[in-house]
């Protein structure tokens, strides 16, 4: 009964809200409930860098470094997560603003029919609650909420004097659900809504995407897999499918240090009303190391 209530609640929320497409460094945290019969706590640190960093289908057009901490509790068929990430990149050009109303910012932000820029790299907090369903085939349904505070320093055009600071944020709410279709395989449906406000580039986007999870391969001790995300994202002047984002990942678990090394290549294509299809190649190299605690028999 409880499971039915939870699954019904998750699907109701899915109808009205939304999961942001996860960052390339947000490592998989799917733990099949059949793998544990007591509660499990896991804490994980991820460190790395990305070339042509992309944040939620929005290319930054710069490289970035990142630190990510993920804390998860697996209990029965439930999973609770708190994640914090810090992304850093070379400073963008300073934003200048005229002393006028409404304010005009320079350099100009992408137009409403272009792919938006992501928020300035910074810290982001995410909480998630997930539930694993299914008997022989385990499927996870997860609700995510994230917040990133964004402080934007403004300068006057000619004097370079400070013109104040904008204190805004970007918030996202999303739901994702695994699917299994015979002969096609596993996939994940994401629905998300992201709202950025109080910045020089306020934007809103809704996204509906399907990520196909192709069966991975092992080459010696290296595990290789591919994900293909296809979806539609609003707020870029192009209706229908406007994001095609495959990720090819190589993964190596070092038994001695118990660290995991990831190399991921993400040739992401996005379509906007003004510029049509554009492709950005994101390449990330990162390492994760965690601790896992559980009660022994």
């Amino acid at each position: 009964m409880l499971r039915k209530l939870v699954s019904a609640s998750v699907f109701l929320l899915a109808a009205t809200a939304a999961a942001q497409q996860r960052s390339i460094f947000d490592v998989d945290d799917f733990v099949d409930p059949r793998q544990h019969d007591t509660a499990v706590f896991a804490s994980r640190l991820v460190l790395g860098a990305a070339n042509n960093y992309v944040d939620d289908t929005r290319p930054l057009h710069r490289d970035a470094r990142f630190l990510h901490i993920a804390n998860s509790v697996y209990w029965s068929a439930f999973q609770f997560d708190y994640k914090h990430s810090e992304v850093r990149a070379d400073a963008p050009p300073p934003i200048r603003v005229c002393n006028c109303s409404p304010p005009i910012y320079f350099p100009p932000v992408p137009a409403s029919d272009e792919v938006p820029l992501p928020p300035r790299p910074g810290g982001k907090d995410t909480v998630q609650i997930g539930w694993y369903g299914g008997k022989d085939l385990k499927l996870r349904y997860r609700l995510s909420a994230s917040n990133q505070n964004i402080a934007t320093d403004l300068f006057y055009p000619n004097t370079n004097g400070p013109a104040g600071t904008l204190h805004g944020h970007e918030r996202a709410l999303g739901v994702e659900g695994d699917t299994y279709i015979p002969y096609i395989g596993f996939g994940t449906v994401n629905v998300a809504r992201t709202v950025r406000s109080g910045t020089a580039d306020d934007r809103t986007q809704s996204e509906l995407a399907y990520t196909s999870r192709l069966p991975g391969l092992s080459v010696g001790k290296i595990l290789v897999r591919g994900l293909i995300t296809v979806g539609g994202v609003s707020g870029r002047g192009a209706r229908g499918v406007n994001v095609v984002s495959p990720i090819f990942e190589a993964f190596w678990h070092d038994q001695t240090t118990r660290a995991n090394i990831h190399l991921a290549w993400n040739p992401m294509s996005t379509r906007s009303g003004r510029n049509g299809w554009e492709t950005q190649h994101q390449i990330a190299l990162f390492i994760d190391r965690g601790i896992v605690l559980f009660r022994k028999h």
């Binding site: 998989d28 695994d178 994940t188 069966p215 991975g216 391969l217 001790k221 897999r225 038994q255 995991n260």
Partner: protein, 237 residues
């Protein structure tokens, strides 16, 4: 030298394996084996029927291509697999089929038409005191055998069934897929390779989405350390 004796094993996976209940109307089992892949027909048949995790019974030849026997308990309508020893091979195993109930005569009849080559597989764990299980799966048939130290599974048809090894305290885990190890001829498997093999299974999408979950890998690693698992040797012939 070929003995005109074939061992046939029927594994019946029952929903409710209790005896003498209204849902368990069958007291006699008949197995009919047809098909060119199934080899010679034996004069005498030994049958093993599994209810729940396994009970063995014997059937004897009752006619052309037919073996029958009263199993001494009441059985529900079940799925089953037949296995037997074969000439010039370690054995044969059939596909998993539902028995046809002949309620008036209390006979549960299985008619198998497709057979696969079976092999004898021995598992030996270090430490030898470790409680383990092997699970043979050919949907919807499933057979679990517990053992400590060493055990042999007979007539394993790797082309038809999945064999998994589970180590340590029982729970509902899926286990290490032996088929992939046999295919790779990786027959001595230490803890670090078991952890890798389980990660590779998850990466292939074994029972869930394909994933490279670091937490799952660390959890396996810690659990094997907790039970002091060192290695398993798999012998196939």
């Amino acid at each position: 030298m070929y003995k005109p004796i074939v061992f046939a094993i029927v594994l019946a996976t029952s929903v409710a394996a209790t005896a003498q209940t209204p849902g368990s109307p069958f007291h006699r089992i008949e197995v009919i084996v047809n098909g060119s892949s199934c080899g010679d027909i034996p004069d005498e048949i030994f049958i093993v029927i599994n209810a729940g995790e396994g009970h063995e019974y014997t059937l004897t030849k009752a006619g052309k291509n037919t073996w029958a026997g009263d199993v001494g308990t009441w059985l529900p309508k079940s799925f089953g697999i037949a296995r037997w020893e074969a000439k010039n091979a370690a054995g044969r195993v059939t596909e998993c089929l539902s028995g046809q109930g002949l309620e008036r005569t209390n006979i549960l009849r299985f008619t198998f038409g497709r057979c696969y080559r079976g092999q004898e597989v021995t598992f030996t764990t270090v430490p030898g005191t470790l409680t383990s299980r092997y699970v043979r799966e050919q949907e919807p048939c499933k057979e679990t055998v517990r053992f400590r130290g060493s055990e042999t599974a007979r007539f394993v048809g790797f082309n038809a069934e999945d064999v998994r090894l589970q180590f340590g305290p029982p729970d509902a885990r899926r286990g290490l897929l032996v088929n992939a190890l046999v295919e790779k001829k990786k027959l001595v498997v230490r803890r670090d390779w078991v952890v890798h093999a389980l990660a590779a299974q998850r990466n292939r999408g074994d029972g869930a989405q394909s994933n490279l979950a670091s937490n799952a890998i660390d959890l396996d690693d810690k659990k094997f350390a907790a039970i002091d698992f060192k290695s398993v040797t798999i012998g196939v012939r």
